[in-house]
Each structure stands twice: as structure tokens, then as C-alpha cells.
Symmetry: D2
Subunit: 363 residues, 4 copies
Amino acid sequence: MALNIPKYTPPDFNQEIFINAPNATLVEVVKDGVSPANYHALSVFPEYFKINNKWVLATESRMDTVCVAYDEMGKESVNIVEFRNLKVGDKVVIGRTEDGSQGIYMYTQGFVNKSHDSDTFAFRSGRSRETAFSIDYDQLYEILKHEKAKNGYVTWVLGTAISLDEDTRNAMERLIREGYVNAILCGTSLAAFDLECGTFGTTWGQKVFRREQNTYENYYETINMVREAGSIESFVKSGQVKDGIMKACVECNVPFVLASTVRDRFTLPGTYDNVYEAQNAMRKHARKTSTIIMVSTILFTIATGNMTPSYNEFDGVIRPVYMYTVDIQEFAVNKLADRGTLTATSVVTNTQDFVKNIGRALA
Amino acid sequence: MALNIPKYTPPDFNQEIFINAPNATLVEVVKDGVSPANYHALSVFPEYFKINNKWVLATESRMDTVCVAYDEMGKESVNIVEFRNLKVGDKVVIGRTEDGSQGIYMYTQGFVNKSHDSDTFAFRSGRSRETAFSIDYDQLYEILKHEKAKNGYVTWVLGTAISLDEDTRNAMERLIREGYVNAILCGTSLAAFDLECGTFGTTWGQKVFRREQNTYENYYETINMVREAGSIESFVKSGQVKDGIMKACVECNVPFVLASTVRDRFTLPGTYDNVYEAQNAMRKHARKTSTIIMVSTILFTIATGNMTPSYNEFDGVIRPVYMYTVDIQEFAVNKLADRGTLTATSVVTNTQDFVKNIGRALA
Amino acid sequence: MALNIPKYTPPDFNQEIFINAPNATLVEVVKDGVSPANYHALSVFPEYFKINNKWVLATESRMDTVCVAYDEMGKESVNIVEFRNLKVGDKVVIGRTEDGSQGIYMYTQGFVNKSHDSDTFAFRSGRSRETAFSIDYDQLYEILKHEKAKNGYVTWVLGTAISLDEDTRNAMERLIREGYVNAILCGTSLAAFDLECGTFGTTWGQKVFRREQNTYENYYETINMVREAGSIESFVKSGQVKDGIMKACVECNVPFVLASTVRDRFTLPGTYDNVYEAQNAMRKHARKTSTIIMVSTILFTIATGNMTPSYNEFDGVIRPVYMYTVDIQEFAVNKLADRGTLTATSVVTNTQDFVKNIGRALA
Amino acid sequence: MALNIPKYTPPDFNQEIFINAPNATLVEVVKDGVSPANYHALSVFPEYFKINNKWVLATESRMDTVCVAYDEMGKESVNIVEFRNLKVGDKVVIGRTEDGSQGIYMYTQGFVNKSHDSDTFAFRSGRSRETAFSIDYDQLYEILKHEKAKNGYVTWVLGTAISLDEDTRNAMERLIREGYVNAILCGTSLAAFDLECGTFGTTWGQKVFRREQNTYENYYETINMVREAGSIESFVKSGQVKDGIMKACVECNVPFVLASTVRDRFTLPGTYDNVYEAQNAMRKHARKTSTIIMVSTILFTIATGNMTPSYNEFDGVIRPVYMYTVDIQEFAVNKLADRGTLTATSVVTNTQDFVKNIGRALA
């Protein structure tokens, strides 16, 4: 199965409607973290803003945030900013139309292949447990091989179950070591369970994989030990961890972001306990991601899906960002699809099997 | 991972309570399909009935049915019969105690290993999507190898999705051809989808696996064609089917039972449209099953789970029947577990992945 | 909230394309229960067939079945028939286009209100547990009042849980007695649980509502008793049942159809054990239904949804059939919606609460 | 239905095993936020610690945290502290047995009524969509009336859907105004949706309740407006909010805690963006709660369930804390039950209907 990345065709800005359109209206922020009224909120589609009579594409975009424009003559640019991060003096694009008539143009046809059939970039809707998924797996394998070969940036958003199951954890470790993982975003518990297993050979709420003893205390003991060591990196380097996901990340220099939730009573060093700081750290990876695989809870999947652009610019080329959402519930995978994400492929299964499938196919 | 089939220790009938117990009370049926009041309903556990002062074990048992006793001196025996199948003159065991005091003894300790740890035959409860399943897969692979080697009887209860996904259908075909399948119980749609795919290369409600055309009409065309051919066997032998599950069954002499539901507007020849006849045909396989794998809808899984004994006698040895229930919903897998099935192992995942996993491991 | 039933605007058959269209091709059935190839399968939309140069509307339609035409001059008519019910000599409409060019016209715009907003007959898509349902309940209450006042035909498809919960069972009984129920389609277990509760005061798998004793044997005892009585009607009339759904049906002359599944070991007299006979009995009600409320398992909901026309003719007027699907899983309610049902309103909740809500609002 | 609060019977500390038991071993913390190894983790049951030869009960307990003991002679006491909140010098109880032999006693029989049937404080297990819930609702109504009459402390943990549905939001507002709510814990989005509806009359991602316009921008406009006003209280007092949950809270002095998650791009003033601070604020309410109703996402339900003691001391009397968990998924409600919570009652339904039921019954 050959990989056929959709080509991007920019709008023709020589059309009358674009030439005659006014510049986008800009209004300055007067209080930090408060937007002017009537702001324009970004969508998942490519959007252009007319600034000093130039149409500027928003890259590294994010849905439901605002556009801050920089209109120094000759260096027109835009930055897509969360409301909370607005600063006094930022010039925010104002307006509620998206057809160019207010200097704002949302472009839905960029990846539509006119000569060919329209299926090249179609979202196969109505995913359920009964959808046949073989073709999606095949395509994903091709994408991951492509990303590895062409310096893509593959971000994985992982849920706790990935480090609880033996074969799944092994598959994930191999994928990291073989170069299919450029960043991991997850909760503190995935890392702690993984380190517990690598240190004590036990897993939470169960006996060891071969079920000889019940050892849930080891989870907190592990966090205590890492806290004493000062960081996950130094704990791994101390030699106490014999295998696993975190060890592979440290040894292969794969960055990870650990984000907290209100469920977490006790977190590993380096975990972001402030959700805004966590998002800022996560979005650093989302901004440069070319493929994202979300195998986590609804919370993390939606959080990351929302901040990942559906298209982006790589080496000067506009390309869709491939997005895979995996969950055992239709509700969860459809929640992201409902928001209009262009390139999301949903798979309804247990995330353990999803990761094992990829591990078997590639690493 | 070595397979360790639990050994059965019969009760010690030399104990006072058994010696002093009366014979079971028997009351004759006076109207077909109507039981005497105060009947004894079977459980999932081994049960013994005292007849002419002999304790007789019920084999090929079924929960929530009644025990018909044959008390010709020297040839005491029992048969476990559904209420609907009771005939005038059948002698039904009466009573509501199970401790022997009415000649009825339910034995819950037969597979408990007293010298060892109790885990050898434990039901790991509270299964959910977050349970680590590697160990269950490993055990299942060992069981299937054992059954193949030792003339076991492996029954598969399959849901429609199994024939809709390309890799899953291929895995199932290989498992049949490699000898891991002794009987298949399913709905008419699994067979029809499989035959459609083997004949037209298309699948229901979708385009073909490679998605070139939308072809749902082929489903009914296929059924029409098989009806014209007279049977699935003759249709397969006509050479029009190029691959698939049904073809493998016909070529490998693996029996299949097709049962209808009220959803089926149009069924393949050989499908049981009467649910009682369907159950009778299914129970013929359930009675001799040593391992059953239920990868179907809740309806078929519960139907089959209910009629499959949790233990049985093979070559004179009492052994548990291994039972695997797979569903994407905890609700479904727990429904069977709640009914007290002894040996049920639940796996929460998409059934496509479950079958593919087994296919990769064994065939 | 006023009820505004969408008006139907028939196609304008004076247009060239309709005048110039050929009559529909008819091919005779040569074997019972086998259709000619290349048949036309019905959709959920209104469809017209050109016979002897007249365009005839299919009423009492059913998706995925075929059209049998009667072309006696001056008495042109059509009947929508399941494949299995085709008889030798039936003239089946052939063709795979729906734009009139083969004498087959599928009409998607009949209920679209051109002058007004398009919302009057819109399907609110993407239903999930998070959808706000107040407005749907309000509309349903208006519909049910209208149906009661105007001799509508309200069919309820009920799941077992309706007779297991005390308040829900009471609500259903009141709705029957108050005239909001014209027919009930269900499994044998709903009726048996209801009769058990009305006779013994107990419910399956639980203690009584106030939980004093565990009494699951009473379920089968009840079926035995009704079998002895000969029918549900005669059992109710014997005075042994003190309250409940079945008693209300018998006393108010509300017909019910009991259909079996392969799970049913033992059924009440009058239950259809053959699924084709069951469907024929169910479709008698579906053909005349003006509103259908499906509060059952996926199996019965899909079965009934498939056989219920999305529009029909009442007193000479073409009207949509209102269809409510209730389930706790998005998967279930979306399965019917995916099939293109025009007027389906999905509610994602526990069916107990759904019935209690209606009971409180109306009866 | 009369409310029968289980009585607590303390252990008999005159028994030999208690008299002979040693004092609990205490080890000092040497680094903030790091526990000594081999700590004792609290359970959901009442636990006693032997300090200076006195057995001290832990109140305001929390599962999976540690016990810090204060052993000044004559003023022995304990405090249950999260690992992260440990300070240098804190004396932590060490040990892995719970039978008294290390000065640690976990008491599972405190609420068991020996003379009566054991049902008075039983957890009805195996809850599913098919469980009959009428009796649970009836009991809950009695509990809420009791709490209102006797100065109980009822904490509600609310999910976003509660403010999206019209009837549900109205029911919640009435319950607050009628005195059935002592504290609300929720995410920022519930409050923002509620305020949007109270201000603009619109709701997120939908048209207004009567569906005339699509207005999702109003959500962020609302947050901007509250930020300008400085706080929810001042925004409500400005008179711009015409109804709703937040308005009722402000006017009735019902405290609320808003906690962030990584999904929140933009939060209302007063929202805790640091998850530890959020938990500390939430636990202030959990410590004094007598009944808690969790109608939220899994995340908030587990977070709160974990920090709420299953028993507590009110006016000198040890009493169970009533805990209701509501979710549309069995997985969610069972997750808390699996952790051993004593008094949790699970209801499987849409939370909208749950709140509407209570609203109709009480307010």
C-alpha cells in the first residue's frame, strides 16, 4: 500500500474577492488574558488573514484560539494565541465572517484533489467497533515508515494501560528504540507504573505479570525513590530500572511531558502540576508534529487533539498532520471527529492491542 | 508458559451426610413442556443426584434447566433437560436445597487445589479495558495447542465483524485450516458477508477493502445466489467462492450452525429460523465442547454461554471447560461472569484484534 | 411547545424527466424466495415507480426489500416485499438508478420546507450522552398527546429492564391505561418478568423490590403457570396477576407481539419461536404505525427500525413516522441513525429513566 | 421508606491482641514530599493506630495516603496526609500488617449489624444498566431530606452536561435554592456554560435551547466578561446573569471549587490551575462531607471519591458517608466500587435524568 500524502493547493489570491477585501480589523488587548469582544476564533482549516494587503497563512494553528497579527510593513506575520496568553498591546483579529469579506479567509478546499477521486483525503465517518480496520492499520504503518525516513515528528499521547500490560509495554519500548517516537505526552501514572515495573517487576492493583504477589504499595515507593533521586533521568541513570518505556526515552533522548490531573495525589519530579504550564509544554511538541497518535484517556486525547494543527508547514510545504485517535468507546473517538478535525482516523479497540499491532508490524 | 489443567477431586460420598441423605424426590411431568412445581434448577457447578442410593453426576449440564432421572435399578442416570423439552412421564428432580439433604448436592470445591495456591482455577474478577491481558492471551495459546494435540473440541461463536475485516477474516480462515476450530456457531450474516467477500470481493455498507466502489446490493445478491445453488456447500463447491471462512469450513469439514434473529430479513439456506431448533443444534456442539471462544454479539455469547457446561467428562476424566468471552464492552463480558461461570476468561477489546492476535500466534 | 408536523410536497411529475422516463422494468420471480438479479432495493425515502405511465408511491415501505408491481391497467399498485416472501410470478422492479431514468424515483425533498428554515424536519446528528435532551422530551410529549387525540398508532418496542424496575413498570402500566400505547413488541422475558412480579411480587436475579428474599426460581415457575393456563390472556383473567404491563394490555385490548431469540430457553405461550413469523407479526403493526418508540435491546430496535417506514399515508395524507430510539450506548442509537432513517430522534440514557419521564409528563 | 443510618460499633480494645500489641512504629520524614520506606497506606475502612498505648481512630481519612502521628503524652492524635504534603520531621506510621500486630488495626466490621440482617449496609454489587434503580432513588431522597433537616453536609461533584440541558440546569438551581446543596466541586466549563446560558441564553456547540442560532463564540465571550468583572461573584452581582446554577450559588452562599484540567484553554477567575491546590481546596469539603453525589466525568468522580472518607465523625458519632456515583458507563461506576468504597451506590444512567429525578422529587 503506497503512501500518498495529499498535496496542498493554495487559494488563488488574484480573484476579485481577495483583491477587494479589506485588511483584517485589529483591536488591541487592554487587559492581560482578556480578549477584545467579537474576536475571530480559529478553526481546524487553513486560515489566511489580510494584513497590509498581504494574505498571511496561519501555521501552527489551534482551534478556538485567536489570531494576533504583527503588521510591521514587509514583515507581516501572525501568531495563534490562547486567550489566556494574550498580553496588553497584542493586536487581535476581530470579525465573525470567514469568506474574506472582513480580511479573514477560512480555506476548506486546500487538500481536495480535483482531478482525482475525492477519497484521497476523506474522513471515513461513522466509525464504530464494527468498522473494518485493516486498511487503517496498513496506512498507519506506511505513514510511520515515511515519518521515520523523512525526519517527520511523531508524537504519541499515551494512556496508563500502555505500561500495565507486558506485551504492550514491550512493544512501546521497541518502537521508541527503533525511531518511531519523537515525543511522548502522558500522565504521571504511566511513567510511575512503567518505572515500578522496571524496578520492582510489579504492576499496580495486580500481582506481578505472573501473579505471585500483590504489591500495590510499590507504586508509591517508586515515586518516593524517584523523588529522592531528583529526576526520572537520574533515577534511570542510577541503574535501578532494568527495562521499559521511560528507560528507553532517557536512553534514546526522546522527550516526554508529564501532565497532572486532579486525580494525582503524588507525582514524579518533572510533572507539570499547573495545567497551563503543562499545555504550554505539550503545545511545543504539537506545533511541530507531523503525525500524532493518541492512545490515551479522553481527557488527554481531547486536550492534545485541540492543540494540534490539522495541517502545518514542513520544509516549506503545507501538509496535513496525520492524527490517529484510539479508544474502546465510540463516544471518545467521535468527540474529536465531531469537532471537525480533518485528518483524524479513529480506531475503536483496546489501546493495548493497537500498540501491539504497531509493534509487531514495525519493530 | 505451561498449561496446567485443574484436576478434579470428587466428593467423598462415604461421609455421613451423603450416606444418610434420602434419594432425590422425583415427580412426573403431566403436560409436555411444563415442569412440576418446586423443580430443582441446575447451576454451573458439578451436581450430584441420589438415585436408588447412588450419587450420580450430571454431565453435559446446563444452567437453569432441570434434571430428569432414570432410576432403573443398576442403570441409574440423569439427563439435563430444558423445560420446553420435558415430555409427559419424565421424572423431574424436585427440591430447593443443594447440600445433599434432599438428595441434591452442588459441589463447588471440585477443582480447588488444596495443597497448592488457590489460583490455579481462579476467576480473575473485575475485568475492564484496563486489565493487562498479555497473560490471558499466553494461556489461551497454550490451551489451543493442547486441544489441537489432544483431540479437544474447540467451538467458536463468531460475530459479524469477523468476516468484514480483511486481516481478521484471513486469520480466521487460517485457524480453521490449521485445525484450531472444531465447530462454528454464528448468525446468517457472518456467513453471507464472508461469501459476498469471497464471491464479489466486496463488503457490506462499505466499499471494497480498497474502497473503490459502494456495493451493498451484493449482500442480497449473494444470498439469492446461494439460495439458487441450494446450500452453502454446493455454492462453495461450484467454485464461485475464492476464499474465506465458509470455504475453509466446507473444505475442512468443520461444522457450522447458522441461527436467525428477528433482524434477519433474508437468510442463507440451512439457517435455523426457529430459535428452539437453533438451540438444539447449537447444544449438540456445546455438550461436547472442551474450549469455547465467544467473539460474538451479547445475544449469541449469552445464548451459548448458558448452554455450555462449565465442566465435563472427556475420556472418563472430569475437566473444566475453558470459556473465553470477548467484547468491547465491560457490560457484555461481565454479564456472563455474573452468572457464575467458573472458567470464563473475559477480554475487553475489539474482536477483530482478538482474532488477529490468535491468528498471528498460532497459524 | 407546539407540534408542527412536516407537510409533504409531492414531486412535480409534469417535469420533462418524469414524462420522458420509461416504465420500470419488471422481471418475474422463478423460484420462491429468490429475487431476479439486479433488483432495486428500497430506501428510507419516499419512492415512486412508473407503471403503465403512472408514477405510483410506495407506502408501508421497508428498507432493503424489493418492490413488486401490479400493472393491471387502471389499478396500478406496488407492494413492498421481503426477498424471502417473494413468490413465483411476482413482478419485481429491476434497476440500480433512482433518478427516474429507469422508472424508479427516490424523493429526498418531500418534507423539506422551502419557505421556512430547514429545521422543521432536521435530524439532529451526533447524539451523545452530552446532548441536551430537554427539547426532545418536550417534542415527544406533544407528539404523544397528538397521537392520542388524533387516532394515531403508537408502537412501543420494549426491553426487559422496563418490567424489572418498580417505578418504570408502574409508569408503563399507566401509559397503557391512559391510551398512549397502541401496540407493544417485545421479547418473552419482558412479559414473563412482568407476570412474575404481578404474581409473586418478585423480580429476577434480585430480591423483591424491597429485597427480602432471593427468588429467581419464580421466573420459570411463572412460565410454567402460564403454560398450564394456556395463554397470557387466560392467566391474567384467572385473577392471579395483581398488576403490571401484561395485565394492562389484556384489560385495555392493547395487542402485543412476543418474539423469541436464541437466548430464550423457555417461552410464554403465544411467543413466536420462528423469527420470520415473528417479523411478519411485528410488521403488521409497523405498517400502520405513526409514532414508534424503541426502548429495547439493539436487536429488537434494529429489527423494528428496519421494518418501520419513515413516512406513511394516514387518512390520505403523507406524513413522517416519528421514531424514537433510546439506548445507554451511543453505538446503539447511532446504528439506526447511520442507516439514514429520516425522522429518528436518539436519546442516550437508561431506558428506565426515559419511560419514567414520559410517565410523569403524561399519565 | 424509612432511613436507617447504620450504627457504628467500635472494636473491643480490651481483647488480648489489642492489649498486647506494640505501639505503631513511627519514622521521621527527612525530605519534604518523600515518605520513609515501608509506610502504611490508609484504606477505606476505619483504622486505629496505637500511640503511647492508646488506640486512636483516624477520622477525615483518605485512601492511599499515610498516617502522621502526634504522640505528645495525653494528646495523642493522627492526621491523614498525602505523600506530597509530608514535611521534614513528620512522624509517619510504618508497617504492612493491619491486624494490630504492628500497632495498626483496620476495622472492617464497624457497621455490620450483628443482630439484624446484613443488608443494612451492604453494597449491592454488579451494577449495570439493567439494575432496577427505583429503590436507590427512594433511599437517596430520604438521605437528602435527612441531611437537610439535620445539618448534614452534601457535596455535589458536577459534570458539564448538567448546565447544558435546560430542565437539568433548572432542577439543579432549585436544589441549591431549597437547601440540598452544601458545596459544589466542578470544572470551569460547567460554570462557564451556565453563565453563558444565564447571560446570552445560548449553549455551547448547539443552537439555543429553542435552536434559533449557533453561538459557540459566546462561551469565550462569557469568560472574557467574567475576567473583566474580576470574579464570578462580582459578575453575578452586576446583574447580567438572569438565572442558573452559579447565580444560585452566589445568592445562597453555597461554596464552589472550580478545578482545571489540561483540556481547559481558558478558565474563569477563581479556577485552580494547579492540581494540587485544587485538591487541597476540594478536600476541605470532602473532609466534612456526610453525603456526596458524584455526577461528573470519571476524572472528577475518581478524584473526589478517592479523597472522601467512607466514614466520619459527626457531632461525636461515627457514621458512614453516603456516596452516590452516577455515570452512563458501567466502567466508570465500577471503577470506584472496585476500590472498595464501602457505601458507594452506583447508578447507571444519563446524569441529566438523575438530576432531574432528584429535582422532581425534592424541589
